[in-house]
């Protein structure tokens, strides 16, 4: 350990002012602070601080995603590894470019975006499309606004939306049949030459309803991370317990989706499948636990979060059943992100009215 710190100390002058590689300082800082806790000390009171920092915050999300990543590897094989590598590489290149040009540090938010992005794509998607998608998402969804903490839209969803609208044929035709057995596809690298199959939601539009047990344990096809409901629930509950994901968003989405689903199924049972099936199918759970709860793009007030969650839950159900699209979660979350500042405005006004008589 000391050896690495020694190497870093010796290499550091090259990246300081006057050194040859000064423009690449953000990359060096990111590497150094990844391995070793930062040497920064407090300057102003309070001089003691809580140990939580943003790196740890993001690491909690990655730990929460781990069950989904393992499930993706099991069901869809080593191709997932290629997609994850491409996602980190392409997105990381955009991040690095902006950090170097703007002379700012590389922020940790990208660790999460780079991992989530492959998990919401069809497993058989050509790797160049993955790269284009993540580059667009990081560029237009985040870097143009100044990086982590300053973006209004979820970058992974902006990238996916771009792919869905720009390459609709490829995006709907590259869903691979999941593996099974003790090792699943853990040792295989399959592309779309393996059988493709329509997702449970697409099949439902033709009248074929997949069994709920399959949806729960992941024996269905779909986007890489969203098939195994059990993995999502385990990771998601972990995030809610560590208070990284706000429980109000999760509860609101699942709640409003359930209520609207019950009403619609009762009114027109032929057109709307039972709520329990809908909850486990598609990307609802994944979106509810991991994507809608992104603290930067969701409302900053608690009341706003409830309204945001209700909008997302209702919109997902309506888009799934009433439009030509098969899955509505992505559009619903983007709509929620768009509405978030207005919801916040209302919630802040109400909050300030309550504080009027304070002090």
């Amino acid at each position: 350990m000391r050896l690495l710190l020694g190497i870093l100390d010796r290499v550091r002058p090259i990246f300081e002012d006057g050194g040859k590689l000064r423009p690449m300082k953000p990359v060096f800082d990111a590497t150094e602070n990844f391995f070793y806790a930062p040497s920064a000390r407090t300057q102003n009171a309070p001089h003691i601080r809580d140990p939580l920092d943003l790196k740890r915050f993001m690491s909690m999300v990655i730990i929460g995603l781990a069950p989904c990543v393992v499930a993706a590897f099991y069901f869809f094989g080593l191709r997932m590894l290629a997609m994850i590598v491409v996602s980190y590489a392409a997105g990381g290149a955009v991040e690095m470019l902006f950090a170097v040009v703007r002379k700012e540090e590389i922020n940790e938010g990208f660790l999460v975006t780079g991992l989530i992005f492959p998990l919401i794509l069809p497993p058989g998607l050509p790797l160049w499309i993955v790269a284009v998608g993540v580059a667009f998402g990081v560029l237009v969804g985040k870097e143009i606004f100044g990086g982590t903490g300053r973006n209004p839209f979820n970058p992974a969803l902006v990238g996916r939306c771009f792919l869905v609208l720009g390459y609709p044929g490829v995006m709907s035709a590259t869903y691979i049949v999941p593996g099974s057995g003790p090792l699943g596809r853990l040792t295989e690298y399959v592309g779309v030459e393996a059988m493709t199959r329509a997702t449970p939601l697409a099949e439902a539009k033709q009248g074929v309803v997949a069994p709920i047990a399959d949806l729960f344990w992941g024996n269905v096809t779909g986007s890489a991370g969203e098939t195994a409901a059990i993995a999502i629930i385990v990771g998601g509950v972990f995030l809610v317990l560590t208070r990284v994901a706000n429980w109000r968003t999760v509860a609101g989405i699942i709640g409003s989706f359930t209520v609207l689903g019950l009403v619609l199924h009762y009114a027109r049972p032929d057109d709307f499948a039972p709520v329990g099936w809908h909850l486990l199918a598609g990307g609802l759970l994944f979106g509810a636990f991991f994507m809608a709860t992104d603290p930067v793009t969701s409302p900053i007030t608690n009341g706003g979060k409830w309204a945001y969650a209700v909008i997302i839950g209702a919109a997902t159900l309506l888009i799934r059943n009433l439009t030509g699209y098969v899955e509505g979660m992505m559009f619903a979350i983007l709509l929620g992100n768009i509405a978030a500042p207005v919801l916040d405005d209302v919630a802040v006004r109400l909050r300030l009215r309550r504080l009027q008589h304070e002090g």
């Binding site: 070793y36 040497s39 809580d50 802040v348």
Partner: protein, 459 residues
């Protein structure tokens, strides 16, 4: 009282209840500035020999509150910048104290109540009073709408109220009676901790017969000892025309000392705490006592940071401050951050407490930790995790105000009630993006005062 937010930080180095008397000093370095006062009017000449309790400087902007010489000594005005130095300090009880000699010229037409207030001011007891909402020094000849007498002090590590009152219950009660005599039926709200302590029950028993004391119990969670929060919790709104006074245990004991015994109040009970102190305890000190003489024998760490005050609101003692200032209530000593952990952010973290639940310490919390001056992260943009809002005792939204101040929206920040901030420092403590929220709010409030309200004053 229904307080909100708040958080108890467990730092190693809690001062024991034992009080150690410091050895008598040879030289005293009295700073001319303290948190609220600037003793700019100097009342002695260079080379003069002043007596103990003599007023050597006054603050003209704070009702001429005096800086009293704790011991007899030879005055040196220009030896150290910003200090009055007393050399050849006499040790008690060699030069005895003559109370009537040293009381400055008293105006004749004060009346007995006015005389009491004058004595409090001249004998150095008035400086312990605060305006509950603004923290300023109240006018000695004014009448408040209520008085808050607090026995609790919760910030790590400031001198605790129970240590001061422990053997002096009689003086404490007498001090309260003096306080009550200054008022005209306004209530005194006595703040006791919401725990079953022997001291609290003895205080309660002693004051049982006094109808003019309302006892309120407050949970022991930082920062519920803050005067502004106590005032708001008791329903005492801010009104510039009828101020609310607030005073601590040491102030009440000082009132007794000044009015019953007519002695000047120059003894300060301070706490010396923090992870870098070998044996944290309370100390019987005096203003001007050399800080180096206090710190050096009691810490063995090499690089340390000394804070004047507690770990959350205390500021670093600068190189050029040589002695304790007139309002010092404690010194907190922290070890400087030197060690860099390998892969620090993925460690399970059973050895570090956190407000969040992202460490193993959530399952089984460690004992008090040895915290250092590490920032424990890097400065990042706000991600609206809402921890600051949850922990804020004033009920405001610090992350929203931070974003408004960042965009220079001063009017919006004022509308979002930045004025309610009590500067407790908890928001900065919990922030994962390591934003200096407390500093930004102090600067923001000042900026708002200058830009938005200076025109009103001039007009």
């Amino acid at each position: 009282m229904k307080p909100r937010g708040g958080y108890n930080i467990r730092v190693a180095g809690r001062p024991a209840g034992a009080v150690e008397a410091l050895p008598e000093p040879d030289t005293l370095y009295l700073p001319l500035r303290s948190r609220r006062f600037n003793f700019s009017e100097i009342c002695v000449k260079d080379g003069e020999r002043c007596g103990p309790g003599h007023a050597i400087a006054k603050d003209p902007e704070n009702y001429f509150v005096p800086l009293l010489a704790p011991r007899a000594g030879t005055v040196r005005l220009d030896a150290v910048e910003g200090h009055i130095v007393l050399e050849d300090v006499a040790k008690l009880p060699e030069e005895t104290y003559h109370p009537d000699d040293d009381l400055p010229h008293v105006p004749k037409d004060l009346g007995s109540s006015g005389m009491k207030r004058y004595k409090l001011l001249a004998l150095g007891a008035w400086q312990f009073l605060h305006d509950a909402h603004t923290n300023a020094l109240p006018d000695p000849f004014d009448t408040p709408s209520a008085v808050i007498a607090s026995t609790i002090r919760l910030e790590p590590f400031l001198a605790r109220g129970d240590v001061q009152v422990r053997k002096r219950l009689v003086n404490f009660t007498r001090g309260l009676e003096h306080l009550q005599a200054l008022l005209e039926y306004q209530p005194i709200h006595l703040i006791l901790p919401e725990v079953d302590s022997d001291l609290a029950s003895r205080v309660r028993d002693t004051l049982r017969g006094h109808a003019w004391v309302n006892i309120t119990y407050v949970p022991l969670r930082y920062p519920f000892d803050n005067f502004a929060l106590l005032a708001r919790g008791l329903g005492l709104k801010y009104d510039a025309n009828s101020p609310v006074w607030a005073i601590n245990s040491e102030g009440i004991l000082a009132m007794d000392r000044a009015l019953t015994m007519s002695h000047p109040c120059t003894v300060r009970l301070i706490s010396l705490g923090g992870p870098a102190v070998d044996e944290p305890k309370h100390l019987k000190a005096m203003p001007g006592y050399p800080i180096r003489a206090i710190i050096d024998p009691r810490t063995s760490s090499e690089s340390i940071r000394v804070l004047n005050g507690g770990g959350l609101t205390g500021d670093t003692v600068l190189e050029d401050q040589l002695g304790l200032d007139a309002e010092c209530t404690g010194l907190t000593v922290l070890p400087e951050h030197t060690e860099r952990e390998f892969l620090g952010f993925v460690r399970p973290g059973s050895d570090r407490r956190s407000y969040s639940r992202c460490f193993l310490s959530t399952l089984r919390a460690p004992a008090a930790e040895r915290l250092t001056t590490a920032l424990k992260g890097e400065r990042r943009p706000c991600v609206s995790c809402n921890f600051c809002e949850e922990v804020c005792p004033a009920g405001i939204m610090p992350h929203l105000i931070h974003k408004l101040l960042y965009q220079d929206e001063l009017e919006q920040a004022e509308l979002t009630r930045i004025d309610l901030c009590v500067e407790c420092g908890l928001c900065s403590f919990v922030c994962p993006s390591k934003i200096d929220l407390r500093r930004e709010f102090i600067d923001g409030k000042q900026l708002i005062q200058e830009e938005l309200h200076s025109e009103e004053v001039e007009a």
